[in-house]
């Protein structure tokens, strides 16, 4: 784990001193704040139960977190390949999985920090309404899990190419497709509808987190998606040595 930590620290420092990190953080927090205002505080918000306001907040944040995850992940390997710095890692006694895990954890830590900074909004709901701390914590767990899954998808995309634009397109298509599986499940007949509903990254698996209900199957789903795409990214990096 020593090497993972070395890669993690360099990558996290890169986010902290790069413009990209601040742009993504500012965009996510600004949009989250505006949408929260519109949905909970603004004149058009109307009378709503505090639990419903919180569920809407987590629903909105999940989309923003997914987009931020893609934006943060696309540079991770493609940029190094383009700049020629990947050779430092690939000629050091560092295994591919250590590189992938170190980079994933750094992006996850940065994304987690951005996500947690938004906590003042649910706290406002908590103070002025009737929601439990558990509901807030479960909602944030859901955000971190969906963020981790989207980061893993982005990391896989960035491992495929040296061009960040291509990585961004691949990551967006993959993530978008996994979001759309839910819509697809609505128009298909069983058993396919059940398969696609089960694979959809958002609707069915995130609904529980929105309302503060923790299902083990949802946690396992997000962890499995994350693991699967991190494994694909690792194998892609291994295969690239043969090309």
């Amino acid at each position: 784990m020593g090497t993972v930590s070395v890669v993690f620290r360099r990558e996290f420092a890169e986010y902290v001193r790069s413009v990209l990190g601040y742009v993504v953080a500012a965009a996510v927090l600004l949009l989250a704040g505006l949408l929260f205002y519109a949905q909970a505080l603004g004149p058009a918000a109307g009378e709503r139960l505090s639990g419903e306001v919180l569920a809407r907040f987590f629903y909105t944040m999940s989309g923003l977190v997914a987009i931020a995850a893609v934006a943060l992940s696309i540079r991770l390997i493609a940029e190094e390949r383009q700049a020629g710095t990947l050779v430092l890692l690939s000629t050091s006694p560092v295994r591919e999985w250590e590189v992938v895990l170190g980079k994933f954890l750094s992006a996850f830590a940065f994304l987690g920090t951005i996500t947690l900074v938004s906590c003042y909004m649910p706290l406002l709901v908590m103070i002025n309404g009737k929601v439990s701390l558990g509901q807030v914590l479960v909602g944030y767990l859901g955000l971190l899990l969906i963020g981790g899954a989207c980061l893993a998808i982005g990391l896989f995309a960035t491992s495929l190419t040296r061009y960040q634009l291509v990585a961004a397109v691949v990551a967006s298509v993959l993530t978008g497709t996994m979001f759309l599986f839910w819509q697809l499940s609505l128009v298909l007949d069983p058993p396919l509808s059940r398969v696609f509903a089960g694979l959809a990254i958002h609707a069915r698996h995130f609904q529980g987190f929105q309302v503060g209900t923790l299902h083990l199957r949802d946690v396992v789903y997000y962890l499995a998606v994350t693991y699967f795409f991190l494994l694909l990214a690792t194998k892609t990096m291994e295969v690239k040595r043969w090309e």
Partner: protein, 317 residues
């Protein structure tokens, strides 16, 4: 130290290297010569375990590169043609990162950092951001990261590319200093650098190893042999045409270039298939020429290089 057996590399069905076989001993400094696309970088990247060979096998210090490349990487320091630096890091941060990747920690890393900065002469820029450094300094930082873990094998791919003459001399001196502690492999187009730095040369052409040896070995091993002579024509001979005719009639003579000096002596350069100085001198004496000098002319490294890398078809250039 290094054993390469029939290593080949294909990129998308196109052969970039091999099959190549060679042995490199511990403590040797070996230069890889070849034109662009000859396969030098591919071979060096394979030996640095950055790339995997499509076929064949290699071992470094007895460790098989196919099955345990991870172990080999800890024995190798690699400086690619373009140094792998992160522009937003300072020199100190970067070298610390490179050392940690190679497993250096704590006091060992703390002691080693100033050492490599001293060797690479980059102490004054320890706190500078890498993006603010000149190409020459970046190359030195690249060299420092390659030696920070005191690797047994140091691989330098075109280490002087883009450097000015003063920097080239400095880099050459650094490499000569490193030869004492590391087995060094260098690829370069700058022939004097290879000539002055390396004990042995491996010449690659179109992905294949076409020659191996010292500069003199290579010169001797070439199929073509060059003989230089100076003769004084007899009374009945005049001009250079006669001597060219006499020599061209000898079996094994490929070409004759005769140049008249002002003092009546004719200088000859004879390209032959082998060392036939005895036949040439006999023919000259028989033809009425006084031979005042006949010698084998070893080719300069540059000529050796050009003949080898261009192949037989272009060898007469």
């Amino acid at each position: 130290m290094i054993s390469v057996n029939n290593v080949s590399k294909f990129f998308g069905g196109k052969r970039a290297l091999g099959p190549v076989s060679c042995e490199i001993g511990t403590g040797e400094a070996v230069g890889f010569l070849g034109l662009n696309g000859a396969g030098k970088t591919t071979l060096l990247r394979i030996l640095a375990c950055d790339l995997r060979p499509s076929a064949g096998s290699f071992a470094v210090d007895g460790i098989d590169g196919g099955t345990t490349p991870h172990h080999i990487r800890s024995l190798v320091g690699f400086l690619p043609e373009s140094p792998p630096i992160y522009p937003e890091m300072t020199v100190g941060e970067y070298l610390r990162f490179a050392g940690q990747l190679r497993g250096l920690t704590g006091s060992h890393l703390k002691h080693r950092l100033p050492e490599v900065e001293e060797i690479a002469n980059i102490r004054p820029v320890h706190h500078e951001l890498l993006r603010h450094l000149s190409h020459g300094y970046r190359q030195r930082v690249g060299l420092a990261q390659a030696i920070i873990h005191q690797p047994q094998l140091l691989i330098l791919d075109e280490p002087t590319t883009g450097l000015d003459p003063a920097q080239i001399v400095e880099m050459r001196l650094m490499i000569q200093g490193l030869k004492e502690k590391h087995t060094v492999l260098i690829s370069s187009h700058v022939l004097p650098e290879i000539h002055q730095t390396c004990d042995r040369l491996l010449v690659l052409r179109d992905g294949e190893l076409v020659a191996s040896g010292t500069e003199q070995d290579l010169s001797h091993r070439l199929e073509s042999c060059r003989i230089a002579a100076s003769v004084i024509p007899g009374h009945e001979q005049s001009g250079t045409g006669g001597v060219e005719t006499v020599l061209s009639a000898i079996d094994g003579v490929h070409s004759v270039v005769a140049t008249e000096r002002g003092d009546g002596v004719i200088d000859l350069v004879v390209e032959t298939g082998s060392d036939i100085r005895a036949d040439i001198s006999r023919a000259l004496v028989h033809g009425g020429y006084g031979v005042i000098r006949i010698d084998r002319a070893d080719m300069e490294l540059e000529e050796v290089f050009l003949q080898l890398v261009h192949g037989d078809d272009d060898g007469d250039r």
